[in-house]
Amino acid sequence: MSPSVPLQEMIRAIRSARTQCEERGVIQRECAAIRAQFRNTDNEGRSHNLAKLLYVHMLGYPAHFGQMECVRMIASPRYSDKRVGYLGAMMLLDEKQDASLLITNSIKNDLSHSNQYVQSLALCTLACMGSAEMCRDLAPEIDRLLRSSNSYIKKKAALCAVHIVRKVRELGELFVPSARSLLSEKNHGVLHGAVVLITQLCEQSPETLERFRKTVPDLVQIMKGLVISGYSPDHDVAGVSDPFLQVRILRLLRILGRHNEAASDAMNDLLAQVATNTDSTKTVGNAVLYETVLTVLDIKSESGLRVLAVNILGRFLLNNDRNIRYIAMTSLQKIVVTDHIAVQRHRGTIVDCLKDQDASVKRRALELSLALVSASNIRSTMKELLIFLSSCPPELRAHAASGIFNAAERYAPSQRWHIDTILHVLTTAGADVRDETVPNLIQLITNTSELHCYTVHKLYRALLTDISQQPLVQVACWCIGEYGDLLLKGECQETEAVQVTEDDVLDALEIVLQSHMSTPTTRGFALTATMKLSTRIIDNVDRIRSVVSIYGSCIDVELQQRAVEYNALFKKYDHMRAAVLERMPVIQKNSVGQTNGEVGEETVKESQAAKVAQKEMALPPQPAGQVCDLLDLLGGSQEPLQPSSSLGGAASTQPTTAGGDLLDLLGGLEPTPPTPAPAVTVYEKNGVTLTISCEQQSDSGLTVTLTASNSSDSDISGFTLQAAVPKSVQLQMRAPSRDSLPANGAAKLTQLVILNNPNKVNLKMRIRVSYTSQGSAVQDMVQVDSFPGIGAAGL
């Protein structure tokens, strides 16, 4: 068809502009001309003008003055005008513009136009930018078109219905019957649209999903037809018959078969057939295989089929195509927890992928390798991981290092291997390890007393070669300070003997102290180590004294404080020096939830010594604060309902232990045994009774217990509670004791809710009760304004 000459001339003019400024000039002139022509109601060139404006809009220039022109063009009787007008509407108008409402009427008229191409324009535009209002208006029209005899229109109407259902959920009901009948169509386009529509309806509403489960045999039939049928020129892509439709049907089968034995059984054979018959030499065949694998792994398939699926993924891992390796690893990662043994079979290939050139493939391979580490393969896997660490891209280093540490901690075959591994990591990627590695490593070293000599020798040697990796230097300094005497003895069973003099050791520490590469923390370590050596060496104590006194006037406050204290140890408290600086006892592994108030070891009453010990053990900061922030995020702005799922679970244990420690530090305040609080009934309906009782735990903390019981004759199932509180109050719901209420009060359901009211606002709670009784779902809301067991003025 003939191109639009005015449009092309303008495009040529814009492209020939040599600078940005020139281009802007050309465009300004053109826009002015276009605006003038819009005012002129000449019929001939209208579509060309609008097309020009759309081009200008695509370059990023403002084009809002064309919106009304779009509306006018859509209403024109000429097809060329309508075509460009609708295109303009899709590009310039969206549901936020007021002008979009004006085209609703035109769309409605065009939907019943006698020419299918005009109808198609209207359908396309509605599916692209239809607002909820427009969708509600035009839904019955779309439903009518779904029943038309024209398959060209039917397939477009189906996708339009998908858009409507996405915008206005309630209209889903309207399309269910037509969707069902469309499945018997032969036309692939219509069939595809029908499958998409049914998928959307099922995803939105579980009841509709139940109804559509009956279509599984029909879908299986259609798929079989596609897979077995001979070559069909219309839909063939590289030997696969209509892969787009196949993938969509597989996805629908996945949704229908999930959590349902019967449906999954019905599709077992088909999935096995698709998995074995599909040609995997081209991407398109692999796309279908990939979807099949995802479906098999998601439904309740039998184990033989699952193994087949994992083997397909294993084959993908060996494929030359990088894309296929990538998706294989993404899928394996999802199932590594559930199908661990099956994935283990492919461990070799996965570990090989660590050497791939693509960064995303490498990242996936790293995560999978770490997930597959076990006691039996730890040595070989670790070898590969350490090789990977030395050549891995910088953004993956921290993750790799911490993964290696975790794996080493869990599966280390021997202490020496463990220490060697950690040292290797520190020398290769020392700058990227996390801060808590240093105390963890120190704790590990003190625990392996037989290897102290070996460790300190290795660390000393590492220190001599390179002092830029801070964590390594810190650990080395600490060890030299603690075990300097072993180092100076010279002999060691595990490594070759090297004669180390006291001067050498003190030189090494001084280099660390003076180097500009050392951070203040590292220098602190070095200074303390130097000080500790004063009790472990014989000759150079004076040298140590001078070093320490120099740093007494250091600019860094921390170093200065230490130096001054050590000086004091030399001068006034020399009789205590040996006791203070003696070997540390074995450090207990600190669990995450403890506060910094915990004092480690008390060797001497001297508070300075205690401070020294605490500084070395930089305990990880309490994550409980983060948990409270998370709750605030979930809390949101208006009193939202928080899910009653066990967010409680792991996160909730930390704040409460923190509270417990606090009480301990305050000198063992015995928490007074809570007096049994009165229970108040807040909800009574259909035989379901909900009572609430409270206990005040602390100044701002309150525990609320919700108890539900069922006095009716029929069982209640799916019982859930949701609670909402005022904005500043923090709420945590523990998992309920059960989720159903048997009849006649045979068992009660309890659920704990922990509240924290730091601002002491007036406490209210809204509780939503949902359950299924005698087949029908019930949902009720209850507001609780006063809490039994606490004062009337709130917390």
Binding site: D94, G189, V237, I327
Partner: protein, 156 residues
């Protein structure tokens, strides 16, 4: 569903943008900027899939043009590559050995073809021949001076 499709040149100039959800102009510009920087920065022999926010980005380079598709999490990435390829084939059939200049000077045709292939973020028609025939018929209809067949009065 697909959220958007972008076509841009090696220099980062936008040649086509199709949005399947309602978002503001500012948001669109931001996405375009981020997509072009992200995709153009990819080294040559890497895989065609990226993760960006909660979407998967599938891109493929054909001569001097990058085709970039933003899809939701449940979509099949390999099939997305096939979708891009199918669109290129349709353009190729229509323009005859399509090149970037064809798409620049006839951008509205590129949109019309896309609108016959995809709709509402989903595939509309899986057969190449049917899409081609529909475009040809629409083009012929455009040639007709005025339509003689409409029976309903159109509101102005």
């Amino acid at each position: 569903m697909m959220r958007f499709m972008l076509l841009f040149s090696r220099q980062g100039r936008l040649r086509l943008q199709k949005w399947f959800t309602a978002i503001s102009e500012r948001e669109k510009k931001k996405i375009i900027r981020e997509m072009t920087t992200m995709v153009l920065a990819r080294p040559p022999r890497t895989c065609n899939f990226l993760r960006w926010k909660d979407l998967k980005i599938v891109y493929k380079r054909y001569a001097s043009l990058y085709f970039c598709l933003g899809v939701e999490d449940e979509e099949n990435e390999l099939l997305a590559l096939e979708i891009i390829h199918r669109y290129v084939e349709l353009l190729d059939k229509y323009f005859g050995n399509v090149c970037e200049l064809d798409i620049i000077f006839n951008f509205e045709k590129a949109y019309f073809i896309l609108d016959e292939f995809l709709m509402g973020g989903e595939i509309q028609e899986t057969s190449k021949q049917i899409v081609n025939r529909a475009i040809e018929s629409s083009d012929m209809l455009q040639e007709v001076r005025c339509m003689k067949t409409h029976t309903h009065p159109t509101a102005f």
